[in-house]
């Protein structure tokens, strides 16, 4: 494990209204993914600055943090029974769905944020797969996008972590995201939203670079960028390993 800890700090400059809370800094630490690892953790944390002490009786503040991976266009396929066997019969394209999408909140999302605000800011798992291509013959494309969310949740690429943001003294907040090993490398974006009275009062984003480390990242990148070299290397390694293993067995027998 080579912890390539990157500490990024970014001041959220936007302050929408006076005397309101502003996030003064948000940071992440990321750890590169390696083979002996089953995943890695990204910690997003920040602090809220207040110009005045917390007024008594004011509604508490809530925080929503999302972490999104690079967008991908994917095909969602559905099996149907034809000629007695189950085969992929229909497919729907979902454009620019984040390859990873995690949402963490201080409390259940529908309790702290109004639906209109949620849709306006495109927060939530359903919003991650909203760009479903229309299909001439498939009427129930919504089933496909729901299935995509379900499958992604199952393999850990989508995460719904209600209550996973910890907020101390209404000032310091943090959330941990466990990234599975099968994530896509690249530019991730961590966004935070400050919520009060079911409305978003402040928001911002920072970029996080997620990289896989070690030999398997090197192999993967080689297979994508120089496939011929990768193919030749694979064969050469297989021949060498086959020969060595056989030679080893012969030696062991003597």
């Amino acid at each position: 494990m080579r912890p390539c800890a990157a500490l990024l700090a970014l001041a959220a400059l936007a302050s929408p209204a006076p005397a309101q809370e502003v996030v003064t800094g948000i940071s992440t630490e990321n750890i590169a993914l390696t083979a002996d690892f089953t995943g890695s953790e990204v910690l997003v944390f920040g602090a809220i600055r207040r110009d005045a002490p917390i007024p008594v009786g004011e509604d508490p503040i809530d925080i929503v943090i999302t972490l999104q991976g690079p967008p991908l266009t994917v095909l969602v396929r559905r099996k149907e029974r034809r000629f007695g066997i189950w085969l992929n019969a229909e497919e729907v394209r979902v454009r620019h769905a984040p390859s990873y999408y995690a949402i963490a909140t201080t409390r259940p999302l529908d309790g702290i944020l109004s639906e209109t605000e949620r849709l306006r800011w495109q927060i939530g798992l359903d919003q991650a797969v909203r760009r479903v291509a229309a299909h001439p013959t498939i009427a129930d494309t919504a089933d496909f996008s729901e299935a995509m969310v379900r499958l992604r949740l199952e393999n850990g690429l989508f995460v719904d972590a209600e209550g996973a943001v910890s907020l101390a003294e209404e000032t310091l907040f943090q959330a941990r995201f466990n990234l599975p090993t099968n994530i896509v490398e690249g530019g991730y974006s961590a966004e935070y939203f400050l919520v009060r009275d079911r409305e978003i009062i402040s928001s911002g984003a920072i970029a996080v670079t997620v990289q896989k480390a070690g030999i398997e990242r090197w192999l993967y990148n080689l297979s994508q960028t120089r496939p011929l070299a990768y193919g030749l290397l694979s064969v050469a390694l297989a021949l060498a390993a086959g020969w060595l293993a056989a030679a080893g067995v012969r030696l062991a027998r003597r």
Binding site: L72, K79, N88, L237
Partner: protein, 304 residues
């Protein structure tokens, strides 16, 4: 101990892979078959995506046939000229197979096609083997029963484009070996098998090659065709997982030694019945997966 396979994009226990490689190695050592036809379905069962399993199995076969081929070359039991003709067909077949593979994958039907092929193949091999070994068991006690007449003249002798194959002491048409090589090449690309189960009988009964050069010559063809298939799969489909291949290979070579040791001590017919039953069970399991309604009807594929 979990290891992350970079192309298959899943974490698998190293010992599971070594175990599968070893088990297939034992089978190949016991029966003198490559075992690709049992290896690839086992990879499906542990959750390796079929497309990656098939391409990586081809790479594994290239590695496992190499050291065996060296032994045969030393013993001069390789008909290089015949191997060359088989190989010419094999390379063409492999190129065609990789193309078919890409198109099936794009259409989302690769899994279906490969499962159907395996059900058919395993069912046929299993039933034939079971039948053959049951007959052999009944024949036991009759010492003459095993003396099978080898036909030197087959219908293949009548075809044009005759070539002289010195090592095999044959003067036959190049068309049958070319066609056999082609078929085996297609299977290598689509199913991730060496294809010995087709090639070996065809070489003996169709071409009429002497048994002593059959194994060496088919290893020659496997090595180059699966090597070629690996490179093509890597270039065109990016589906070769070299870590997967290497782990299977190491398990396989060790397993093959164990199997070869056992083979001298155990009774052949009973072993063969065991293998036949195993082959039928694997085929049946694949068939069940096709027929029973799956728990999850939806799947996600990256658009390439």
């Amino acid at each position: 101990m979990q290891i992350y396979l970079p192309i298959a994009e899943i974490s698998v226990n190293v010992f599971v892979l070594l175990g599968i490689g070893g088990m297939v190695g034992v089978i190949s050592g016991l029966f003198g078959v490559g075992g690709g036809f049992i290896l690839t379905p086992l990879l499906f069962f542990i959750g390796i995506p079929p497309a990656v399993a098939v391409a990586s199995a081809a790479n594994q076969i290239a590695g496992s046939s190499f050291s065996a081929l060296l032994v045969h070359l030393r013993r001069k039991t390789v008909d290089v000229r015949m191997g060359g003709v088989l190989l010419a067909g094999g390379v063409l077949g492999s190129a065609g197979g990789v193309q078919i593979y890409s198109e099936l994958r794009e259409a989302g039907q690769f899994e279906l096609a490969v499962s159907l092929l395996y059900v058919f193949l395993l069912g046929t091999i299993g039933v034939l083997m079971l039948n053959e070994s049951l007959r052999a068991m009944r024949r036991r006690g009759d010492p003459n029963a095993l003396l099978m007449p080898r036909k030197r003249h087959t219908w293949a002798q009548g075809l044009p484009l005759k070539m002289r194959f010195r090592t095999s002491q044959l003067y036959v048409s190049a068309i049958p070996p070319f066609v056999i090589g082609f078929v085996v090449g297609v299977l290598a690309a689509i199913m991730g098998v060496g294809g010995g189960f087709i090639m070996v009988p065809a070489m003996i009964y169709l071409i009429g090659m002497p048994t002593k050069v059959v194994i060496g010559t088919s290893l020659f063809q496997f090595l180059f065709v699966t090597g070629f298939t690996t490179v093509l799969q890597a270039v065109q489909n990016k589906s070769v997982d070299v870590l997967l291949s290497l782990l299977l290979l190491v398990g396989g070579v060790i397993g093959a030694q164990v199997g070869a040791n056992f083979a001298t001590r155990l009774r052949a017919e009973q072993l063969r019945i065991g293998l036949a039953v195993l082959v039928i069970l694997v085929g049946f399991r694949l068939l069940l997966d096709l027929v029973i309604e799956p728990d999850e009807l939806y799947s996600i594929a990256p658009r390439r």
